[in-house]
Amino acid sequence: MAITMAQAINAALRDAMEADDRVLIFGEDVGRLGGVFRVTDGLQATFGEERCFDTPLAESGIIGTAIGLAMYGFRPVPEMQFDGFTYPAFEQIVSHLAKMPNRSRGTVKLPVTVRIPYGGGIGAVEHHSESPEAYWAHTAGLKVMTPGTPEDGYAMMREAIAMDDPVIFLEPKRRYWMKSDAELPITTQPAREAVVRREGTDVSVFCYGPMVRTALEAADAAADEGWSLEVVDLRSLSPLDTATMVASVERTGRAIVVHEAAMTLGMGAEIAARIQERAFYHLEAPVLRATGYDTPYPPAKLEEFWLPDVDRILDMVERSMSY
């Protein structure tokens, strides 16, 4: 029986709550409604209002109280309803969630998993399609994970909740309905390891979250043109698995980074910087980027022109091959 990524994450939350009664789920509309994407569906019914509850409409409040709950000994899994509504909580995330464990010299642990549905491609109105991962990955003290498959949706969520560090868990909302025949519970590689989803010899394509499927489609299309792409799913954006990326580029000599976020200072910038630092003599072409543009996220009817897609990836492959 096939399950979707949303269902896989829901199952992970359920199993985590079952396994450890310190796990708490809260946020806007996560209770009775089960979340606007139904990712928390049924959790309040099963575990009661004490463990899965709706909060007032205040994101800073949600993260700030998560910190206090974690200080008490709970393992909070707060939800930010959408990517664009994480920003009111920016101070609590950056100044406290990320920094308090270090500030306390290790005495305070904050095992908080902040769930954020992110990214575009679903025809939503403004502020519902943001890709804020670079803000978090630039912030020391946070771990940042994003699954690209339903299997990872389950396994990485379990790993994030079990982890003693704060995790920003970015759920690629346009892939919530992506299906898998996996049997749950499932374990995959630890999140910090990037995974080669498809082996190839010409160009390494680094991607994550919503763009994993797109990159795999591009690899299919590239094969028709005679190019062999290696698709690497990064999974963890902080830390980055530099070793796996470098090893891939050592094989292929070429690299492309794909993400929805704006190009400037997006993950592609860091990845390009690291690869040229560490695989300088292996590179036969510069690391290129197939990304969103340096403009605000566009209106729904224009998102297809803005988002990186198979064509933009192939264009970069062609440019890379032309060096």
């Binding site: 409604l33 007032p56 409409l57 205040a58 502020h127 403009t295 209106p299 224009l302 022109f305 264009d315």
Partner: protein
């Protein structure tokens, strides 16, 4: 009196919301809230509400037909919006959230333009300066600060206007309206913080949003009066808002208004309210319908006849048809417009990226014959 300059008792809301018009159309005159509306104005208030409901319905239909991506209905809240917006003068400003179709129609904002946000042809599509009606604001409560800033600007300019900003019961929990009211209180800025308490923030009912006795009680914490009004009573809403607006224009500072109402539709067209509220609750709420009671008043006063009914009906249909025509299959503009408005002076920004998009558009136009529009 204590060591504080202002008597807090003067700021607290009365025990009961101001209410002038019963569901059966009976009007209770109230010296504190004089109406001073002539027959034409009574009819106009009614007309705005009927047109609002019609256009709202049309928008829901357009969404069902795939013409809008999503839509946030204001059904049930027509009186709160129309009554309050009607109390403003033309040069007053409105800072809406995403649900204020009724206020926009009173303001004569182009409703088709407004709905382009929901169609996704652009992020917003009306000129805020044309009718002093700001862009709709999606991040909850943020617009309260813009309203306050604009009011501070008017004060500095010696321009005695009032500014009204709408947000919801849920919005009162966010930090931004709190900061806006703090600023407006200290600066005595002419802002009306108008909360449509429609009982829910998506699925979250009021009692999980706040423990305050009423939302209006929050006002005292900012040194401004908190008013409460039956938000399904267009006349009471008008009168209470008017009083606050006049006060603000006179330089007496901001005010907070809690309008008690009910959201008759889903939160947005994407929402499934059956998960969190019952049919009985809806049936109960329907009894307080804002439009019916105004028609009852007009009927009682012999201001309502078939002619009026037809005229209003026609106007409603026309506006809805106009909206439909403006939205249906409406195309987005040139995708290169994505780079047009990011900066006034874009020097140095994204020439390469514009080139990339231009090339993609060209190749998809030539190549596989895909339509751009």
């Amino acid at each position: 009196m204590a060591d504080h300059a202002i008597d807090p008792r003067s700021l607290l809301p009365p025990d009961e919301p101001v209410h002038l018009l019963d569901p059966d159309g009976t009007l209770h005159e109230d010296d504190d809230h004089p109406l001073e509306l002539d027959d034409e104005q009574l009819r106009e208030l009614y007309r705005f509400m009927v047109v609002t409901r019609k256009v709202d319905r049309e928008a829901i239909n357009l969404q069902r037909q795939g013409q809008l991506g999503v839509y946030a209905s204001c059904m049930g809240q027509e009186a709160a919006q129309v009554g309050s917006a009607y109390a403003l003068a033309e040069d007053d400003w409105i800072f809406p959230s995403y649900r204020e179709l009724g206020a926009a129609l009173v303001r004569k904002v182009d409703a088709a333009g407004l709905l382009h946000l929901y169609r996704g042809t652009w992020l917003s599509d009306h000129d805020p300066y044309a009718h002093n009606f700001a862009l709709m604001s999606i991040p909850i409560g943020t617009q309260a600060l813009h309203a306050t800033g604009l009011a501070m600007g008017a004060q500095r300019d010696g321009n005695a206007i009032a500014v009204i900003t709408y947000f919801g019961d849920g919005g009162t929990s966010e930090g931004d309206p709190h900061e806006a009211m703090t600023f407006a209180g200290v600066m005595r800025s002419p802002v009306i913080f108008f909360v449509q308490n429609n009982q829910y923030a998506i699925s979250v009912p009021l009692e999980k949003q706040t423990a305050a006795p009423t939302l209006a009680h929050k006002a005292v914490g900012y040194g401004m009066p908190g008013y409460r009004v039956d938000g399904n009573d267009v006349l009471a809403t008008y009168a209470v808002t008017k009083r606050a607006v006049e006060r603000a224009r006179r330089g007496e500072g901001p005010a907070f208004i809690e309008a008690m109402t009910y959201r008759m539709e889903a939160h947005t067209t994407s929402d499934d309210p059956s998960r969190y509220r019952t049919q009985e609750e809806l049936d109960e709420a329907a009894k307080t319908d804002p439009i019916a009671r105004m028609r009852n008043l007009l009927t009682q006063r012999d201001l309502y006849d078939e002619e009026l009914e037809q005229a209003i009906d026609e106007q409603a249909k026309e506006t809805a048809a106009y909206v439909r025509a403006g939205i249906y299959d409406a195309s987005h503009g040139d995708p290169l417009e994505l780079f047009e408005h990011v900066y006034v002076d874009p020097t140095g920004h994204f020439e390469d990226q514009r080139e990339q998009l231009r090339a993609e558009l060209a190749s998809s136009a030539d190549g596989d014959g895909e339509e751009v529009a």
